[in-house]
């Protein structure tokens, strides 16, 4: 926080209430912990589908309940902070953002589980190898997007968040290309349709994970700059994120 015009002896990093500080820190760190778990779920799901080893898939399905429980617990803590502290300004944005981010993380967890279920279905099949390259590429990219979005959240890094949004565009393009490839397989050999549909679901799940990572990045921009950039194009997002950030930093807020 810039201190233009403000006496230097003033420090605003801490609340008067120490408990409020620790409550806010707690939801942040639990959200990061949940993010780490979900990130591993996705990595394992991609591994299961690309290697054909179904051990991680079983593990993912087992851990889905943990992710769900974390979502509910963190969201309850957010509600408690709203009720007890009536947060305002950056604190309010943080609590709202954490509540939204955990919902996206939970959905990423759901998508990882879907991938794991389909991985079990296609394992051992001779036609399970459709679009492997796209799956690997998209899987790696969305993994990077999740960690990028969470890192951006941890560091209040608007530029990092915008990078994630740009990557989502690439994932969407790869998804469209993979769909065209799958359609070609299905037209050439109708017997491949049931397996191709499994692969389609997997591609779709990975693409959705990218969308959720993008949503998380939008929340980073909201927390840092106050701009609500949901449903905006990348260029609008860049403009508003930097404009609002500049407005705030010029006066120190």
């Amino acid at each position: 926080m810039a201190n233009k015009g403000i006496p230097v002896e003033m420090n605003f990093s801490q609340h008067i209430s120490g408990q409020f500080n620790s409550d806010l820190e707690a939801i942040r760190s639990q959200m990061m912990e949940m993010g780490g778990l979900v990130e591993r779920q996705v990595a394992n799901a991609i591994e299961a589908i690309t290697t054909g080893d179904t051990t991680p898939a079983d593990d993912i399905i087992r851990r889905e309940d943990d992710v769900d429980r974390m979502e509910v617990a963190i969201d309850q803590e957010c509600t408690q902070i709203l009720v007890r502290r009536q947060p305002a300004a950056s604190d309010l944005r943080m609590v709202l953002a954490v509540s939204r981010v955990v919902r996206d993380l939970e959905r990423i967890g759901d998508e990882a589980t879907k991938i794991a279920v389909h991985a079990l279905e296609v394992s051992g099949s001779t036609n399970g190898g459709y679009c492997q390259q796209s799956i690997r590429y998209m899987g790696t990219e969305v993994g990077k997007m999740i960690s990028g979005a969470l890192n951006a959240f941890a560091r209040n890094d608007v530029d990092g968040a915008l990078d994630v949004v740009r990557n989502d565009k690439l994932v969407d393009q790869q998804y469209s290309a993979a769909l065209r490839e799958l359609i070609t397989y299905m037209m050439e050999d109708p017997r491949s349709i049931s397996q191709a549909i499994n692969i389609l679901w997997i591609l779709r799940a990975i693409e959705r994970i990218g969308d959720h990572a993008r949503n998380i990045s939008e929340q980073v921009i909201y927390v840092v700059s106050g701009a609500d950039v949901r449903h905006s194009s990348i260029s609008e997002m860049e403009e508003r994120a930097h404009k609002d950030k500049d407005d705030s930093s010029s006066t120190g807020a």
Binding site: M10, A88, G226, D247, S248
Partner: protein
Amino acid sequence: MSIIENHQTDGEPFCDSPKLKARGVGVFYGDKQAIFDVSLDIGANEVIALIGPSGCGKSTFLRCLNRMNDTIDICRITGEILLDDEDIYAPKIDVVPLRARVGMVFQKPNPFPKTIFDNVAYGPRIHGLVNHRHELEEIVEQSLRRAGLWSEVKDRLDAPGTGLSGGQQQRLCIARTIAVDPEVILMDEPCSALDPIATARIEELIDELRDNYTIAIVTHSMQQAARVSQRTAYFHLGQLIEVNPTDLVFTKPQHALTEAYITGRFG
């Protein structure tokens, strides 16, 4: 903590249809300066909330707006305050009609030791607003109705005003204020002595009164400021730091001091 040098108020201190205009207002108590160069518009039919830590000058500023500070001998005011473009500190201005145009509701309900009827009738009587008893009765009824108190007191208008509950007393004081048909109502922490139900009634009333009056309210409750006002002004050590639409102030304040205050990072 020291004063911010050469501070310009952030946000939008001015508005399109101002009822009251403060320009470069400074207030001194003896040698000590309490308010520094405050310029602010209070728009017609708006509720503006003045917030800030204790001793920041928000009440002092409010009291300048109907010359209540004149009652303090050592108090000196510089700058200009214009009500409908007329300087309220001009020598020709008589403060008695001024205070009828710009009424005030105080922190603690202060009904006169008179009947409920006489409390409300007091202003219209001394300002000579009525000629006949039935006119007075009409003003009393209408004022009590507007203050949301009529149904509770209509059968006991001869009972003493001091016998009402705290919330009713405060609504009686609001009725007394609006009985003289003011244009602006100044409220200095009007709910700080009231319970949540009485507070909710007063806040509802403020919202209804906005149709006919311009209201400036000083409050220590940020939730109250957020609930009742359209614009919020943040004062700090006698300076006006930021004025912005209320929803903006409470979600994305422009100045670091406003942010620090409303998030409870200092007091």
